[in-house]
């Protein structure tokens, strides 16, 4: 009798998880595809809200948290109101820390950590460039170590160099070789699944074009 109960219970659970699994995948696919086309701060904020709603249900999946953080971090770069940046980035960091605890030593998560650090610089470049430049660099380096095939840390590092004034050791000339490495890695990179991170190729291309402009 006990066995039957157990069987029923297990079937119930697996059915449940099967149902939820497909719901999760569908919701994520839709949302992830929107990350490719959303560029406005408001759009990215709404999209992050969407990922957070998924995350609040799927508390063991790292991807919803990851994307929720990624969208906010991305919105920081197009956000006009710089006073609010720290609040946004704090929020992104909180979400990303959850992702990090669910999936430790994940190259993609470290990439977004680097992105958040770069966002912090934007609040006050003169005062923060030095500190957060170093932090961003450390995170992208770690991301590279964790997965050498991941092109995104190279993109982040290249972005950092691209926007760093040459007197602080940055500039287009320094950025270009790093972005070229990113480019070559994108050629071989296959996302692990439909909802796994795949962003960045367009940005690398755009920045490489900028690098060649004099």
């Amino acid at each position: 009798m006990k066995r039957i109960f157990l069987l029923i219970a297990l079937t119930g659970i697996s059915l449940q998880s099967f149902a939820d699994g497909s719901q999760y995948l569908n919701a994520m696919k839709k949302a992830v595809s929107m990350t490719d086309t959303t560029a406005s701060a408001a759009g990215l904020q709404s999209l992050s809200n969407h990922f957070q709603r998924i995350a609040n249900v799927e508390r063991t999946e790292w991807l919803p948290y990851y994307y929720a953080a990624y969208c906010i971090a991305g919105s920081a770069f197009v956000q006009k109101d710089k006073d609010k940046l720290d609040d946004y980035l704090d929020n992104a960091e909180t979400l990303l820390n959850v992702a990090d605890s669910l999936s430790p030593n994940n190259s993609e998560i470290y990439t977004v950590k680097a992105m958040i650090a770069q966002g912090r610089i934007a609040v006050s470049p003169m005062k923060r460039g030095r500190k957060f430049g170093t932090i961003a660099n450390d995170f992208s380096k770690r991301a590279m170590e964790l997965d050498s095939t991941n092109p995104r840390p190279y993109l982040l590092k290249g972005t950092g160099l691209f926007y760093t004034p040459s007197m602080f050791g940055g500039g287009k000339d320094k950025a270009k070789p790093v972005l070229e490495v990113a480019m070559s890695k994108y050629e071989f990179f296959k996302p692990a699944s439909e909802i796994a991170p795949h962003w960045g190729l367009d940005r690398v291309k755009k920045m490489l074009v900028e690098c060649d402009k004099k």
């Binding site: 709603r53 610089i121 003169m126 430049g133």
Partner: protein, 740 residues
């Protein structure tokens, strides 16, 4: 077939949608804050489901759900506490007004601001960051120089120190990492202001308190300058500086939980004097020369604990001659000075758990001056040993309770000789204090700070009780009013203690009220105060001459007193003009006191009714991307102050005429500076140029009289106009540039 696929897909999804829509309920509403203002882009969801949406720019939202029964609706937005409500979904649309309360932050929470100008990286309001200090024209990279552009401080150019709100320089104490610094300034020559010993780059936070300050500090009747040092250095780097007055270099090594900085400098003012013509009546027999070294260690002892040591050692020498006032300027006075200074400050902070935090610190300083002034030789040494500790208990949001104590031992010796006479004075002071302070945020709009400090001085053999209270109330989104009351005590100065052993603490009571409006870019504040001085030391001359700098014997008492009242106005604006940061300070001061040699209530020589400072800074951004670097900074500082009084008193037997009283001409100074950021062989480099008093205006700080008052000499700046050029190179400053 493929042509029809989309159509089939749409048909199917419509079918699916409509089949579903029978049981769908619409949830709509608005997200607003507690003032009724719209919150755009908030997230609304049903707990435990994917269902939800984001509100629009107008705060409106609208979504459908198939959930039934009791559910929890959650609305969240960055910067706000989340909103939760339970609703029962039946068959009717649901309308929700989601009111989110703004999270407590520095802008929407009241701050205790009466009497204090706080500056740190976190608080954006009124601040002087290291970069602000070094880019303030006329400040010459000196902390005090920049502080003097804030209201409350008087423009005293002939001596070092901060003269705040009718208080003398000894009424302001410099505090580093919660411990008082005995000799914050280098030793100097009469009528030439000394610089601060500490570089502005050592500190992350500066609080300049013009009154009503916390019970954590004592022994300052007027003001405290509280400096907090950096935690761990951010990175491994080396720096090299080259200026007209010398060279300095340093290296910082950063490990995971440790950082160590070693710096050294050599200063010689000879080249500087060659470029900047000096007061023609004064001749440097030895241009100031000094060597200085410092070691800074930071050790993270745990995730929440940090141990800090700052230590420095310096030696300096100088010599100058100037007309001897006692001989009516007919002979030259020869002055020379040798100084040795050691300063060590160690502190430890740790979080103890259960909302308790612990701080312990100790400091040691030893200052030796060897002065020869014509036939006088004075050797003085001062040793100060200090220990301080306190516990902080966190009581909910922002509120704290602090309790602690401190002890100080000050050993002072002065041996003076002239011809065959000699005089030796020794003091050994033990000072102890206990303090407790509540800082309570009753609501976000109302905060109260109540503190009590009790002090004991061994040399006076007296106790005192110094209550302190501040209240701040937020009157609007950006505005607030504050009030402060406090009682402050100070042990009389060393030279006053030599001759008397029945003195008591000097005291001052502060009443302050302030109003301020602040946002991220602009600050306006106006503060009115009244200070009542009591028990100030009076020195009574008696006519029989003996050895000593004025040749008189004294009797002393605590019968002095006085008052100071005034209004300070401050306006800073970083927004109105693109790339421009400027501030304007106005200080009105009305003060009288009877103290030291003053025969009656007088406006002190360091005080003037009106002072205005305008500081203007322009930064030209080099690159328009998100990492902007200000490649060129340029700025000016203009200071105006009304004339200051000068006196010479009836002084038998040499002078028996009436007291001489006068006021100097008004003070005007226009200084400029510029800095250029570039790179030399890939190393970050700053080149700077400053010109002080560019218009060459003749300023007079006061007059000195010969003993029979037949001759006087004006106290004027050592050089009329000064030009200062230097460069600073940061070697190996790495920004995202490690070799692959």
């Amino acid at each position: 077939m493929s042509k029809y696929l989309p159509a089939i897909f749409i048909a199917f999804s419509l079918l699916f949608f409509s089949a579903n829509s029978f049981s769908q309920i619409t949830i709509s509403g608005k997200t607003i804050d507690d003032n009724g203002a719209v919150i755009p882009f908030a997230s609304i969801s049903i707990k435990g489901t994917y269902d939800g949406t984001s509100s629009t720019e107008n705060g409106e939202f609208n979504f459908t759900t198939t959930e039934k029964g009791q559910v929890t609706i959650i609305a969240t937005c960055i910067g706000y506490d989340s909103f939760k409500t339970k609703v029962i979904i039946a068959d009717k649309p649901i309308i929700i007004k989601a009111v989110l309360r703004e999270k407590s932050n520095e802008l929407n929470t009241v701050v205790i601001s009466a009497g204090s100008f706080e500056a740190s990286d976190k608080k954006k309001a009124v601040m002087l960051k290291p970069l602000d200090i070094v880019t303030t024209a006329g400040a010459s990279g000196d902390i005090d120089g920049a502080i003097k552009t804030l209201p409350g401080a008087q423009n005293v150019g002939e001596t070092e120190g901060l003269f705040v709100r009718g208080g003398s320089a000894s009424e302001t104490k410099t505090i580093i990492d919660d411990m008082v610094v005995q000799n914050p300034y280098t030793s100097s020559v009469p009528d030439v202001p000394a610089r601060g010993r500490f570089s502005p780059f050592l500190f992350t936070g500066t609080v300049f308190s013009t009154g009503g300050y916390s019970a954590l500090y004592g022994q300052a009747l007027s003001s405290t300058l509280v400096l907090n040092t950096d935690d761990l250095a951010e990175e491994t780097t080396s720096a090299l500086g080259l200026t007209m007055v010398g060279v300095n270099g340093g290296h910082t090594q950063r490990w995971k939980n440790t950082s160590l900085s070693v710096d050294g400098s050599y200063t010689n003012l000879k080249p500087f004097f060659a470029v900047n013509p000096q007061n023609s009546l004064r001749t440097w027999t030895k241009a100031p020369e000094s060597g200085q070294g410092s070691i800074i260690l930071r050790q993270k002892t745990s995730a929440t604990g940090i141990f800090k040591i700052y230590s420095s050692f310096s030696m300096s020498k100088l010599g100058i001659t100037f007309p001897n006032i006692y001989d009516s300027g007919t002979t030259l006075a020869r002055f020379s000075l040798q100084n040795q200074n050691i300063y060590v400050n160690a502190s430890y902070k740790e979080f103890l758990g259960k909302n308790w935090n612990f701080f312990a610190g100790t400091s040691y300083s030893n200052n030796v001056d060897k002065i020869s002034f014509n036939q006088f030789n004075v050797n003085s040494s001062q040793q100060n040993t200090q220990g301080k500790f306190y516990f902080t208990k966190y009581l909910g949001i922002n509120s704290t309770f602090k309790i602690g104590g401190e002890v100080q031992n000050i050993v002072y010796g002065q041996d003076s000789s002239v011809y065959s006479f000699s005089a030796n004075h020794h003091l050994n002071e033990m000072y102890g204090a206990a303090f407790a302070e509540f800082e309570l945020f009753i609501t976000r709009r109302l905060a109260v700070r109540i503190g009590e400090r009790s002090e004991y001085s061994h040399i006076l053999n007296k106790y005192n009780n110094a209550p302190r209270t501040s209240i701040a109330y937020k009157t609007g989104k950006k505005s607030q009013v504050s009030f402060a009351y406090g009682k402050f005590f100070e042990t009389p100065q060393k030279d006053e203690l030599f001759f008397s052993n029945n003195l008591t603490f000097e005291n001052c009571t502060h009443y302050i009220t302030n109003y301020q409006i602040t946002d991220d870019y602009r600050t306006f504040r106006i503060e009115a105060y009244y200070k009542q001085y009591g028990d100030l030391v009076r020195i009574i001359r008696s006519p029989s001459p003996i050895v000593g700098d004025t040749g008189k014997i004294y009797s002393e008492n605590n019968n002095g007193g006085g008052y100071a009242r005034g209004i300070d106005v401050f306006w800073r604006d970083k927004k109105t003009f693109k790339n421009v940061d400027y501030w304007v300070s106005y200080t009105y001061l009305d003060t009288r006191r009877e103290y030291r040699y003053y025969p009656e209530m007088l406006q002190p020589t360091f005080a003037t009714p009106h002072t205005v400072s305008v500081v203007y800074k322009y930064a030209l951004p080099a690159i328009a991307h998100f990492i902007e670097a200000n490649k060129l900074n340029a700025g000016f500082t203009y200071t105006f102050a009304t004339g200051r009084p000068y006196y010479y008193f009836y002084n038998p037997p040499t002078y028996t005429g009436p007291d001489i009283k006068g006021t100097t001409i008004d003070y005007n100074n226009f200084s400029i500076n510029t800095s250029y950021l570039t790179s030399i062989k890939g190393n970050f480099t700053v080149i700077f140029l400053g010109i002080n008093n560019i218009l060459g205006i003749n300023n007079v700080y006061g007059y000195r009289y010969s003993s029979d008052a037949s001759y006087r000499s004006a106290i004027i700046p050592q050089s009329l106009r000064t030009i200062f050029i230097g460069m600073f190179v940061s070697i190996g400053r790495k920004v995202a540039d490690d070799k692959k």
